[in-house]
């Protein structure tokens, strides 16, 4: 039953590069990316410097957002798009002698970004720690990709100093630092909001609730206070340490999540970046951008952490509710077993005596004979029901055994009919061919089907639920169909029945699927292998 955990994991797009070629659906994204890249690349030139392109590189933000959203399989397409843009802008000039170097310089960053995104996603899929809880993987990729891209540039810079225009360790380190800081700023500034907007547009995420006035006031006060402290420290000649702002952004991220921390980061960036776009000395500019990068990293990680915590809390609450439900069911089961036991004692006596009475009165007065026969029949039926219920409710350690489907369906019918009747629903069950045999744990599988029938009965709108069995070329399919609901209110269920049914069916080597058609009819299909079928 360990498979129970499966449905709790949110489905996400496949992380493995199934194909490196973009699909038609990718094309608008790629065209948009090329345009955004062109614009962002030009804006970045304002913060340019010797040995690196820019201290603020928003194009990297678009790049990681696209890779994250559409998958690392687009790496090749992104590289092609960037090459085309750079040929168009003349960065790569096929007629010049240095075209190959320029080409490699253009290819390297998107290639490394793609690899890092692939690595992080693969890791997150396998990890079971907090690192695999969204949005931690994105945070990791956002910081890891720029760092890795700069590191891969290191051997290039050391081996071919004449090409990058820097020489000596000091200048190389300066150039790489500029590279990392520029990419980091671009990624942290743009990737989170871009992804968030894309999620919002496709309905993948909930619109954030309106923040309370108190939260907004708290965030504003903290941010303003941190700026005030910095200005004060600068005025009295203590330099410009950025720790107050850093702590303020971290606070805001931890308290209010990723969106709030991003807004705080935008405010900080809006105050810093116009200053550094003006002519100022390289050391001061780099220091400011590095501080900005650390503020962003800390703020973003704090926000991500708070969001991840919030998600885990929601998950935990959901599981707590499930556990509570399970605990109640356990008590209920113990109670029913006790009740069944208490009933079975007197019922034994009743059935024996009723049968005797029936036999005695066969030749008596018709009235008496009929009454005795009726009592006997009812007592016998009740005995059968009690035996069946006990088999169902008792603790069973039975191994799967070959089981005729007809028997299974009989059990299900006996268990589900009373409830269907009390809901005013007719349970229509097709005749089952006697030669269909499956390998099953009868009690568990009956539970799975009863759960589906129960769901169907509760959701039923037209008064009929049908349970049919059809043989397929791969085994057998049990189909539960109910009509649409028009007037009935939504039942306060939690979907536990379906989860349990799916876990049981999968443990039997089968699959469970549910489809609701346009007319509102729901079909739940259990596909199971038959005994003795060739694999």
């Amino acid at each position: 039953m360990t498979t129970l955990a499966k449905p709790f994991v949110e489905p996400h797009t496949p992380s493995r590069a199934t194909t490196v070629l973009p699909t038609v659906a990718d094309l608008p994204w790629l065209v948009g990316y090329a345009l955004a890249f062109l614009a962002a690349h030009h804006i970045a030139a304002e913060w340019g410097g010797r040995g690196f392109y820019s201290l603020l590189y928003p194009a990297a933000g678009f790049r990681i957002a696209l890779l994250w959203r559409r998958g690392p399989r687009l790496t090749l397409a992104i590289i092609v798009a960037e090459i085309l843009v750079q040929i168009g802008t003349g960065v790569i000039d096929p007629r010049s002698a240095g075209w190959l170097t320029a080409l490699i310089g253009v290819i390297r960053p998107p290639l490394v970004y793609g690899l890092i995104v692939l690595l992080v996603r693969t890791m997150a899929d396998r990890a079971q720690t907090s690192m695999s809880v969204a949005p931690m993987p994105l945070g990791l990729a956002s910081v890891g990709a720029p760092a890795a891209a700069a590191l891969t540039a290191l051997p290039w810079s050391l081996l071919r100093p004449n090409l990058t225009g820097v020489s000596g360790l000091r200048e190389t380190v300066t150039s790489l630092t500029g590279f990392v800081v520029g990419d980091l700023l671009g990624v942290l500034l743009l990737a989170p909001p871009l992804l968030w907007v894309a999620d919002l547009a496709t309905g993948g995420t909930l619109r954030p609730g309106r923040p309370s006035m108190a939260s907004v006031a708290e965030a504003v006060v903290i941010l303003v206070a941190s700026f005030a402290i910095e200005i004060l420290l600068a005025r009295i000649g203590l330099g410009t340490p950025h720790t107050p702002v850093l702590l303020a952004v971290a606070w805001i991220g931890l308290r209010f999540g990723r969106l709030a921390s991003w807004l705080a980061i935008v405010v900080v960036a809006a105050m810093v970046l116009p200053q550094t776009a003006m002519p100022m000395d390289m050391g001061g500019r780099l220091a400011l951008h590095m501080s900005l990068a650390s503020i962003m990293v800390v703020g973003y990680l704090a926000g991500s952490f708070a969001d991840a915590q919030a998600r885990v809390r929601v998950d935990l609450e959901r599981r707590d509710r499930l556990l509570f439900q399970a605990e109640r069911l356990k008590t209920l089961r113990a109670m029913s077993v006790a009740v069944i036991h208490e009933i079975s004692q007197p019922l034994s006596t009743l059935a024996i005596e009723a049968k005797h009475l029936h036999e005695l009165t066969v030749s008596a007065d018709v009235e008496i004979a009929t009454t005795a026969a009726l009592i006997d029949r009812k007592a016998a039926a009740l005995s059968t029901l009690v035996r069946r219920l006990r088999r169902f409710g008792g603790r069973t350690v039975d191994v799967p055994t070959p089981l005729p489907l007809a028997t299974l369906i009989d059990t299900v019918a006996a268990l589900a009919r009373p409830e269907a009747k009390s809901h005013g629903v007719t349970l229509s069950i097709d005749a089952v061919a006697p030669d269909l045999v499956i390998l099953a744990q009868e009690v568990e599988l009956a539970q799975a089907i009863v759960n589906l029938v129960r769901n169907a009965v509760q959701a039923c709108g037209n008064g009929t639920v049908t349970l049919g069995v059809t043989r397929t070329n791969r085994g057998v399919e049990l189909v539960v169909v109910n009509g649409s609901r028009s007037t009935r209110p939504e039942q306060p269920g939690m979907g536990v029945g379906t989860l349990v049914a799916r876990a049981i069916v999968e443990a039997h080597g089968g699959t469970l699927s549910r489809v609701t058609d346009t007319a509102g009819n729901t079909r739940a299909t259990i596909a199971l292998p038959l005994v003795g079928e060739p694999e």
């Binding site: 007197p346 034994s348 006596t349 024996i352 035996r387 069973t396």
Partner: protein, 194 residues
């Protein structure tokens, strides 16, 4: 129902009504049946009035059905035991037959036909056991030793060697055993020993 298929049956259940109902049911089918509320008094009187078959509940007060089966087996190896229970488990079902020599394990509410079939089978088995025991009861200790080795398939020489007596003496014992048990040949002797 013929007389040979009917026998003496004790019904043990801590539910008085059920015990009485089962006993009456059995009487209607020709058996001599007696209900008991508690196994302890039955164990006291059992040696004076042994039965062919005992139908017992598993979950009872001080002595449970399995414990009771062990004790009654010591008194009488030729009684058939049938268990019935309102708390059936797979483990108990297996134990009741394999460890406690039960003939059947019935779930309450009782399936009447199955109970009657089991009782008939138990009575027949018990009667066969008793007659076999009766026929070998007259053997002397030495004849009993020879009998035990014979039914295991040993020949006269082997038996003589094993018991440290002469083959001629073994031959004499054999003649006495055949005479006392009224059997004809080794095959019938082996059937008695089962």
């Amino acid at each position: 129902m013929t007389d040979t298929a009917c026998g003496m049956v004790y019904v043990v259940d801590d539910d008085q009504d059920l015990g009485a109902a089962v006993a009456r049911l059995l009487r209607r089918h020709g058996h001599v049946a007696e209900p008991f509320l508690d196994p302890a008094p039955l164990l006291e009187v059992y040696e004076r009035a042994p039965a062919h078959c005992i139908v017992t509940d598993v979950m009872m007060g001080e002595i449970d059905g399995f414990d009771f089966a062990d004790r009654v087996r010591l008194l009488d190896p030729a009684v058939a035991i049938i268990f019935m229970t309102a708390w059936p488990t797979t483990a108990n079902a297996v134990d009741s037959v394999r460890r406690y020599g039960g003939l059947d394990y019935l779930e309450k509410p009782i399936d009447e036909d199955r109970l009657l079939a089991a009782i008939t089978e138990g009575v027949a088995w018990s009667k066969a056991q008793r007659s076999a025991l009766a026929r070998t009861a007259g053997l002397t200790p030495r004849q009993r030793q020879v009998f035990d080795l014979l039914v295991k398939g040993h020949n006269n020489q082997a038996i003589a060697a094993a018991l440290d007596i002469s083959p001629k003496t073994v031959e004499d014992h054999r003649a006495a055993i055949v005479a006392k048990t009224g059997t004809n040949g080794i095959a019938q002797l082996i059937a008695l020993a089962r």
